[in-house]
Every structure is written in C-alpha cells, then in structure tokens.
Symmetry: C2
Subunit: 309 residues, 2 copies
C-alpha cells in the first residue's frame, strides 16, 4: 500500500469520518482537519471526530464546521490503538476502514493500513496524501500540517526530525502557513497556573539510579481545573536534566490509575521500559498505565529504572 | 557583491584570520569554524580568532587546531560592530578586509562587505559561500553550520526562520550532521543547578501592572559559580506567561549594579522602556543598567512598568 493507493481509495469513496486519538495533540488534529479540508475541497463530505479536546487548537478546528451526512468510510489518523479512541472506542472498534499512522507499534486492524514509522509526524504522510488527492494545500491546510509537524518534533528539535520533515515544513512556510502564530501558541505561551505547576513539579522531582533517572508527578489536585493544553509538554522536563538517561512523568488519573510517560535520548529503550507495564510507543518516547497508589507506582518505576540503567 | 564574488576573492587570497564576536554564540562560531575548515580544505591557511569562549562548543572548536602563519586577510563573520570584538577590538579595528553578516545594523567598514538581513543566521550565507568555494561540506562543517542555524533560530522556532533556513538545515541533515547531539547540547540539557535556579526564580517572580508585567531576578548568591551558559535564556521566562506584555529580568552584578533585560512581544516598546534608564536595544528585546539596591531597582521598574502599561 502506497500513499498513492490511499489517495485512490479515498477518491472512490465518500462521507468520511476521520478519527483522532483522545486528548488529541497537534499531530492528530492537524492530520484530521488537514485531511478533512482537503476531502471537502475535492467535493467529498468529511468530519473530524474528536474527544477530550484541549482549548488551544481553535485556529485549526474552527476551519471545518461539522457537516451533516450519513458516515460511510472511517479513517483514523495518528491513532496507534483503538483503546486510544477513548469514549469513541466502542462505537468505532472494528469499523475503521483506513488507518494512517506513524507509530511502529500500531495495532489497528483495517482494510487499508499505512504505517510509516520513519515519519516524525503523521502529518508528513497526510502532506503527501493531500498532494496525491490533487487538492490544493491552502493556507488553512498548511497551518494544520505545520502544527502537526512542529508539535510532534518539539519545533524540529527532537531526534525524530528528518530532512524530509524540514523540507515539508519549508514547503508549508512557502505556502503561507502562519508559523509565527503557531509557534507562539504551541511553544512560547504558558499560563500563570502552568508556571506554578512547573515550580511545584520541580519541588517534588525524584532522582534515582545514580541520578540517571529523574521522575516527576502530578496528582489530580495539582492539576485541578487545568486543561490538557496547560499541562502538555511537562513530560519533557525530567529528560532535559544533564546526565538523565530516562525521564519519567507520572500523572494521576481518576480511579487509582497512573498514566506514565517515559522519555529517553535513545540510549535507553523507552518502549521496552513501558512494555514491562503493558504499555508501548517509540524508542525515545513511550507510555503505560499503572494501577495502585502514587507511592506504589513510584516504587515500581524506581525498581524498573534501577534494573534498566 | 554576491556570494560568488566573496568566494572568488577568498580563492585569490591566503592566510586568513576569521573574527567572531565576544561571548561567541553558535552562529558566529559555526560560521567561523565552518569557513575555516572549508578554506583549509582548499589548501589555504586559516584560523578562527575568539575571545570570552563559553564551555559547551568544544565539539566545534576542537575540529580546527590553530595553525602557525603570518595573517594576511581578515574576515569577520556575524560581527555587527567592531565594538563586539571585545578584547580584540584595538588589534583589528580598521583592518577587516571582508565582513560577512546578517545584522541589518552592521557598521563594519571593510573593502568587501556582504550583509544579508533576510538570513536568519549568518550560517546561511556561509553555507552558500562554502559551496561556491568548491569545498565539500564534510560532517564537521555540517555540524558547524547546523549549530549556526539552529542556535540563531531557537531550533527553527523564532520568527526569523524562513523556508531557506529549513531547506539548508535539511541539506545539512542529509550531509550527516549530528543534529541529535547538537540539539541536545544546545537546547535540551539543563544542569541540576539550572533546574534549581529556575525553581528559585519562579518562587520569587513578581507580577505588577495588572499581571501585564512579570519580573524575575537573580542575585549574585543565586548564580554563584554558574557559567554564563548555565544561566542563558532565563530572560525569556517572564515573557512566556500568558497575558504578560512586558517581561523583565534583573541580574545583580558586583558593586551594586543591576543589569536589566526587557522582553516584549512587540506590542510594548522594550527599547523605549529601557531608554528611561539610559539603555537601549530593539522593540522586542532591550536592556539597561540600574544602580541601587535590589529593592529600589524593583520599585523603579515597577513604577515605570505601571506607567507604560
């Protein structure tokens, strides 16, 4: 299956629903809305289906008001597993026709599957796909795709960034995307509450495995009333510290569940680390969910980190 | 004067000294060492002349051990004014043969001048120049130039980034530059001490003018023993806060002097703000020095901020 094949199948169908993962980020929203706008441009009906939306993506989501139609063809973008559909899992499980993703660990069963784990962002695939559809990359679409690329690469700073990523970003700049606005909103603006949270997190940071592992956590109380957009990116804090090879972020969720993100600089396999707890992801960034108390979760992770490092 | 002209003049000369500005950053070091390596490759003698070197650029500077020769031709890269030569000003003032820069405000007099203020980094010019010289862009040169581009654009996040910047960066990745290492050293590594300093700064942050101004400060005690590279970038902290139009950073220096940096998003004129205290700079970033105590400095700035906003 090539990107050209994907385009040809999309052209033969109509009435699309495009699924994004829960707590959507810039990549899945940029992909979903970019593809939606392109499909509408070539005369199709299309909607993006989201859940648990953060607040700061209105510059993307405002550009595609929902349309009224009977859905016939379901596409997922940047969704590695149907579990990540959140509230929409039951409705769409087993019903996805086309799966487009860049997570090597993708488990979604679909008639048409395209997974390119070399792509830093799923947005790179969608960029090629929109060109193959013969749609024009308008400024609105360019903004969607630039958001996809820049957010999944930490503004082209993470190791997943390739020359292809940079060349597509260059094309998007030439096509008029408002990178200044997007970078300001995505990377340079923090709320007062966020600043307070960072201070709080730094106060409580835990080092282990001879300081080669740094762990931070947030409790429900610490982030009460904060949107996901306000707490995004904290997972990169522990890994930034000199000498730290494994940065772990623990987020308390309702019901005694702890969402764990592991970040490494590639020397340590974050995916293998999280697989011990039933999770997965990439070598440099992975996640898992652990049930228990905050203390027991920290202890489990500390032991695993000391064994790994 | 075109980049081709610069190359042809360099080819006709030999025994080069390449000047960088004081407290050199990634752009001037990347340009200086990149050009030096390229000149040596085509059979010339060349040295880079630096002063006040920070610690974390050894991966660049180690690649060109000083050569012994009688200098004949002086090139400056990324130096906007001879004052910025620091200790080397007296020696080189009026003696620069070729000036290559991207600061529109460049005041250097030289027989051959090439100033391209559209270039996000002077490294963009040096990239073209090395190609015109007919030198191969080796991995070492690619590392120099990637460092130049990425540091002057905040890893391609600042508004100065253009599609040309991104395309050159893509070429450098294809030429084998170690962007992962460079980004890690330049953007992602914070010492434990730095993390503690940030926490300390956030604890003591002051808001005024209806939260439209945020002020942070460091005392000599807070930064004791820390290098400039460890405290770099803290001036961007207050401006990042949502709603803050004027971000002020106060640094205690020896002898009852306080160095003040003002940062704005362009709505407020940082230069006019600092001019009240005998300072200056750009609309978005300016500075001044105030004598007194920490308390009196904060009070003066608070009153000025409340009047301005």
């Amino acid at each position: 299956m090539t990107v050209k094949d994907l385009a040809s199948i999309l052209k033969q169908n109509n009435n699309f629903e495009i699924l994004t993962h829960n707590y959507p980020d810039g990549d899945c929203l940029g992909c979903g809305y970019g593809l939606c706008l392109a499909l509408r441009q070539i005369g199709k009906n299309a909607n993006v289906i989201t859940t648990d939306m953060p607040k700061n993506f209105s510059f993307i989501t405002d550009k595609a008001e929902p349309q009224d139609f009977e859905p016939e063809f379901i596409v997922s973008t940047d969704v590695a597993d149907t579990k990540l559909l959140g509230k929409n899992e039951d409705k769409y499980k087993g019903r996805i026709d086309m799966c487009i993703d860049h997570h090597g660990s993708n488990t979604i069963e679909a008639q048409y599957r395209y997974v390119d784990s070399e792509a830093a962002a799923a947005g790179e695939i969608i960029f090629e796909l929109i060109k193959e559809l013969g749609a024009e990359i308008t400024v609105d679409i360019a903004n969607c795709l630039y958001t996809a690329l820049s957010t999944d690469t930490g503004c082209f700073c993470y190791v997943n960034t390739t020359s292809r990523t940079l060349r597509i970003a260059a094309d998007l700049l030439d096509l008029g995307c408002d990178s200044a606005y997007i970078n300001k909103v995505m990377f340079e603006t923090k709320t007062k509450r966020r600043i307070e949270l960072e201070r709080d997190i730094l106060d409580k940071m835990i080092f282990c495995a001879d300081d080669k592992c740094a762990m931070i956590y947030t409790t429900c109380e610490m982030v009460e009333g904060m949107g996901d957009d306000e707490t995004e990116g904290i997972a990169s804090i522990p890994r930034q510290i000199e000498g730290v090879k494994l940065g772990i972020t623990i987020r308390e969720k309702q019901g005694g569940e702890y969402k764990v993100s592991a970040r490494t600089n590639g020397d340590v396999d974050a995916c293998a680390f999280c697989a011990q707890f039933g999770g997965g992801g990439h070598i440099g960034a992975a996640g898992c969910t652990i049930k228990g108390t905050l203390e027991s979760t920290i202890e489990m992770l500390r032991k695993a980190a000391e064994k790994t490092l």
